[in-house]
Symmetry: D3
Subunit: 243 residues, 6 copies
Amino acid sequence: MSDFIRFDGRALDELRPVRITRNFTTNPAGSVLVEFGNTRVMCTASVEYGVPRFKKDSGEGWLTAEYSMLPSATHERMPRESMKGKVKGRTHEISRLVGRSLRAAVDLRELGENTIQLDCDVLQADGGTRTASITGAYVALADAVAHLKEAGVVPGEPLLDPIAAVSVGIIDGRPSLDLPYEEDSRAEVDLNVVMASSGNFVEIQGTGEHGLFGRAELNQMLDLAEKGCYELIEAQKAALGWN
Amino acid sequence: MSDFIRFDGRALDELRPVRITRNFTTNPAGSVLVEFGNTRVMCTASVEYGVPRFKKDSGEGWLTAEYSMLPSATHERMPRESMKGKVKGRTHEISRLVGRSLRAAVDLRELGENTIQLDCDVLQADGGTRTASITGAYVALADAVAHLKEAGVVPGEPLLDPIAAVSVGIIDGRPSLDLPYEEDSRAEVDLNVVMASSGNFVEIQGTGEHGLFGRAELNQMLDLAEKGCYELIEAQKAALGWN
Amino acid sequence: MSDFIRFDGRALDELRPVRITRNFTTNPAGSVLVEFGNTRVMCTASVEYGVPRFKKDSGEGWLTAEYSMLPSATHERMPRESMKGKVKGRTHEISRLVGRSLRAAVDLRELGENTIQLDCDVLQADGGTRTASITGAYVALADAVAHLKEAGVVPGEPLLDPIAAVSVGIIDGRPSLDLPYEEDSRAEVDLNVVMASSGNFVEIQGTGEHGLFGRAELNQMLDLAEKGCYELIEAQKAALGWN
Amino acid sequence: MSDFIRFDGRALDELRPVRITRNFTTNPAGSVLVEFGNTRVMCTASVEYGVPRFKKDSGEGWLTAEYSMLPSATHERMPRESMKGKVKGRTHEISRLVGRSLRAAVDLRELGENTIQLDCDVLQADGGTRTASITGAYVALADAVAHLKEAGVVPGEPLLDPIAAVSVGIIDGRPSLDLPYEEDSRAEVDLNVVMASSGNFVEIQGTGEHGLFGRAELNQMLDLAEKGCYELIEAQKAALGWN
Amino acid sequence: MSDFIRFDGRALDELRPVRITRNFTTNPAGSVLVEFGNTRVMCTASVEYGVPRFKKDSGEGWLTAEYSMLPSATHERMPRESMKGKVKGRTHEISRLVGRSLRAAVDLRELGENTIQLDCDVLQADGGTRTASITGAYVALADAVAHLKEAGVVPGEPLLDPIAAVSVGIIDGRPSLDLPYEEDSRAEVDLNVVMASSGNFVEIQGTGEHGLFGRAELNQMLDLAEKGCYELIEAQKAALGWN
Amino acid sequence: MSDFIRFDGRALDELRPVRITRNFTTNPAGSVLVEFGNTRVMCTASVEYGVPRFKKDSGEGWLTAEYSMLPSATHERMPRESMKGKVKGRTHEISRLVGRSLRAAVDLRELGENTIQLDCDVLQADGGTRTASITGAYVALADAVAHLKEAGVVPGEPLLDPIAAVSVGIIDGRPSLDLPYEEDSRAEVDLNVVMASSGNFVEIQGTGEHGLFGRAELNQMLDLAEKGCYELIEAQKAALGWN
């Protein structure tokens, strides 16, 4: 990496300050406030006994996720989706990404016929809300699974190794880690990576709407993402007291 | 008041601990976290230049409000209204109450053709979410008006005297101030009072679904509400540095 | 009361002419046309055997209400809510008020597992549609309960004492009873009162969007409301042949 | 026609008692209560200055219609469409039929750029609600056009000759005029006919879901419909004082 | 018939070229592409075991239909109904017509408690999409019933004689068979006829929005429709290999 | 690549038979039927003069896309989204992917203030519907741009080099190209790649819901995708007569 300094003083391969606050609220089984710089997301994991119809009598559990932005989270207030009566495509897309990603962190067979509902509500948005959501949701999930085990309703060990997510982009030709809104909005290429602590990928989504990308750039971006995800997983473990 | 002690250790005429945190988030013109005990609401005031069609060319501004609960705010997770595609009657009713109440705290003619949008998003619910919303929203409104004045777009002095709101109820025959969920759910009578610092009422809503109430009980409840609102207005002023 | 004469010739404490027509239509168990001056509401009570899920196996019945305005009820035609695909907040708010109020007029335990659905459809609106709805709905409810008892499906005596509702307002400083649209639209303060025949309150909702109100004014308004409700209850009893 | 007597005492070619009450409500430009036996429909015609976008600057006016049933109009209460958030296909279909039919009774070029909105709200349903709606709507339309002409905003003579509508069916092999619900629900063939006073057809809709029909039966039914429509047009004229 | 030649070279009583392609797609039990000139509709018949609630335990089956236009089917692209969140009245109206018509081609008692779902999706629209849909749907239905019988789940012989549908109109005073969009859009009168192979009618819908019509014209149009339907039934039989 | 033979006889790096039919329908500016084996998608490009509000007066054009499945496209019929009144998350997600991808194939500045609307309607689904949609949409886009240029409304040369898309997966540990439903449903890892003819990526989306994947597997999959996309681009060029 070059020693180029970004507009916010970070090196190209440097994460924004990460904060993970457990027990942010008390009603859900797991409740986490995750902060990637100025991006702040409340991630909760609620437990429901029983599973949706398509999982009935499978002996397995289910996990699903909903992502949403509070209307005042963004610089310009956005209309509230409930008032418009429809959910935007972007919201659906991210909810689905969070759900898929976190299902890779849980063994549904070990969960019994219980459902974990993740909610990622963005209180303040400054880029990377989907990756912060995934990273925070893992911690809320871990707390919820612990709660289920204490309650004696989980037959096995459903929680798998940590997963975390980070964004990478190419801005003015420079691969850069963990993009705030200022960078994200003008990145040529944007890559979101969800990685497990083994270093294997759960999901990668790369988009070159403002410029294509070749294998070499993809590899540079994946290197950065890998570094970022490892650091985020350390932060998750520290928050969970696992170190 | 008798010296009966409530389940949470409070006297009958005692508020729960109140906390008002300004600048809770940074994008909206005003952003406040208000806490009435375990009830926590994020109240923001966003400014939009221009007014809705029915106010066009009136020379006046407008103020409107939306109230919503995060799905994980309650003990049992509630379905997300945006996903169901419709807003519940209760949500509509409270949004309208908050909007009407705060319009009593602003002189729309002094605001110029600007719109203030209040958003009250309940992060954690333990009774009194509508009264906490109104109380917090006044502080966010004050910050937003200050912001508009700094920006030089407000012709006059739109902010009026503080208003605050509190709930009162009759539980087991005892008039009690500021009900948490445990008391609210079994109150015979439930009264929400919005009061200005002059001691006059902005709105009163009393409901006796589980028992009727006479003039005497109404007066006892109004006495309690008055006391609570005066204390809340002190807390607002302290948060705003107005003392 | 002063002897001020209102624009329509009434004294300040005088109701508009009230008419209650039973058996207005023949399909529902109870069907009433209620008229407060030019305000005309068709109130029906339909009976359904069984209860909603949250009341299943409780041994109790349920009562719910829907209020709606026909599009041509108002001076300017309003868009039809079914065509817009969503119900306005005002409609929700009034439906909830009617339901809560009438549940105070019925002992659900004595109803058995039956549901009474009230529908209040405004044919012509001239102020006070919600209070006329409540007043008329009681009569329709009484007829429906009688119908259920005749059918032998009600185990007990579910109907409680009459309730009625009236609006009061302060116009140009004068507390006035039963506001038509012309007065309602320029009232400083607006109070809706639902009262039982015992003189106790079921619900009070006072709003000072165009001007605050103190205890003294509240008491004046409650005096007027009390007088109005007693007269409406007499009209209900006369319509039901209970005198 | 045979001298078979129907369950309600009518001859096969006999209409139910028809009543047309003008000025049923006072806010819309035209307001009519039409009764075909126990079927009762409130038909209103509201006037709006201006036309929808697709008619802008055409020099022509527009006419549109909405039909709806009150939830308590039918024997079994039906869910309210506004609460379900969608309009049933049947409602759409009838609204479109009423609009098309009444557009045949108005010369849009003579109307100027004004819009007439017809609302047909069924207060009580006993078969033939769509034909009663069309028949009543013509009278409301005539009153609204008179109103527009008095207001001096209509350049020409937009109102054309009366149109009326009636249902005919084949029940137990017998062609019968103006079917109440009891007959409609078991008719083999069901034909709705909209006719102008010239004897020409505006619309015919015949359905043989429970049995096909040949030319001979069609002609018998058309004869009955013709007779019925002529009588209804006489009733319209009488109501309008045109005889 | 006169020997007037139409804009596309056809005689007044001549159908457009008809093509019926079976097994157009492979997943549904019946799948047909029907072409009336440039109008092309994909008609499928899907089979579901079981019936809707209102038919449960009746021993009978059910048949229902949905009609829809692809957004790019028309000359000007139309907004997609799913994206608008509501179905247009015209779509509802035609779906209901197709369902009613095809229920006349099946004996539901012989079908057992199975449901046939017809889907008519218009790939390219050039007038007559509803009549092409009905005509093609019969062939898809025949294939689906054959499929059910092979699967051994149908107790009897549910398929009845062929039905077909065609449009007729009066253009510049000339009754004309099978209208393409160019003629349909300027027809004075428009008649859709659904006929069974017996020559009896299933449904007739005639509309004179741009001009009334008398008995003589109706009879001329019915003659044309009869001729057209017989020819279409021959085409259906040929496609099914029934000749 | 090993010489493992897949269930349908293909080698691991072999595409299904590809067919691209231009001018499939005649109303839209571009209309293509694309087939990847049994997957069949109708891709159209419609042109609208003008741009959405957020592009007004930018001098640039816009391109957007909608993807949808016909209800009978899948093995089990799926409910129609328009009837349910909401669009599924999956549909939104794919529509957004198609739009983003094709915007990489057009220079919006050269398009002038025109909008191209792509519609990808799946007639028959057998895996890879989103990649077939993108591949077919490019050809429809090329035809629409040619149409715009002929019409003389496009100032420049908006069409960029071809893009195509293909799916790759790991099934039973074997990286495989272009997955039909049978393979897709049991793939451990699923990667969709959109590539330009330069060999650079427009978008990559890899998901390991049923198993994580490392860099080595990613590279193997990208190799396959590259091969597939080059072949698809050849097919596009052949269809367009560009070779």
